[in-house]
């Protein structure tokens, strides 16, 4: 076996794995399993990125997804009825539309692979990729990088302001009582 063959086999395994686990996400009753299948799917995508030469991006994707998917599992279990699938159920709503949307967006993205003119010369020094990323970040893309910081700050404050039920100035629902649906309750409150 040559290096190229090993790489091809691994790439195929990761690709297949990501598709299969991605499909399982919608085919399980348990929110925990759904979240962790998605995590497996993302990890496989990370593996594909590594084989394509983007070692840093691939590994960072895997690293990040652990935390993100745990948060997703926690939130899904929190708000979905029957989170463990003790009652069997069907995860997908409007699945004809979903299948159509999925297939068409896959085709659209896959077509990029054929339509875009990629550079002929492969990246000669993949091990310098991280360094180049850093230089780019601090050089030409400095403004983008700092803007990202401000955006993240806005997201953080927004998330806290919306989600938190209490703050320095008292409970969040104070003065913004939700009107009762039943007229009698409304009169009472």
């Amino acid at each position: 076996m040559t290096d190229a063959l090993v790489a091809d086999v691994l790439f195929g395994a990761f690709a297949l794995g990501s598709v299969i686990t991605g499909w399982r996400v919608f085919h399980t009753d348990s929110m925990m399993r759904a979240a962790f299948f998605l995590l497996a799917s993302f990890a496989a995508v990370g593996g594909m990125l590594v084989i394509l030469g983007a070692e840093f991006l691939g590994m960072v994707l895997i690293l990040m997804m652990a935390g993100e998917m745990l948060v997703m599992a926690i939130v899904m279990v929190m708000f979905m009825m029957n989170p463990a699938g003790l009652n069997p159920m069907w995860m997908v709503h409007q699945h004809r539309v979903a299948v159509a949307a999925g297939v068409s967006s896959f085709l659209a993205i896959a077509s990029l692979g054929f339509l875009v003119d990629f550079r002929e010369d492969p990246n000669v020094q993949p091990e310098m990729a991280t360094v180049e990323l850093g230089i780019e970040l601090l050089g030409d893309s400095m403004l983008v990088f700092q803007t990202a910081g401000v955006l993240l700050l806005a997201t953080m404050i927004g998330a806290v302001a919306i989600a938190s039920s209490r703050g320095r100035f008292g409970a969040a629902e104070e003065g913004s009582e939700e009107p009762a649906l039943d007229p009698e309750d409304r009169a009472a409150s």
Partner: protein, 119 residues
Amino acid sequence: MLVGPLGVALAVFIAALVAVLLVERAGEPAAHEAPSPTERVPFAGGLPPQVHAWNRYHARYYVMALVFLVFDMEMVYMYPWAVVFLREGGIAMVEMAMFIAILLLGVLYAWRERSLEWS
């Protein structure tokens, strides 16, 4: 060299995973008869639970989890920055300090709003 260091790391990971799974299978001694209902009751100090434990679990730290999601993004930038830090010198220091200071404002806000505590 057939596989690079990451290949070796992957092999170690998979080998350990499979080995432990095999031990788990092999370690199961010859099955006693199927467990009776009382042998399957989850532990709560001796009394059986009224309902299933799996529930819409009220994770009291959901606001912190959201803050984490955002702050975690920052780490993506820190790695390449750390690698070129010595090369770039003062400019790297200033830029990252600015970026971090902006993000820390968010953490400071969350802390002041007491949303890191249990809701």
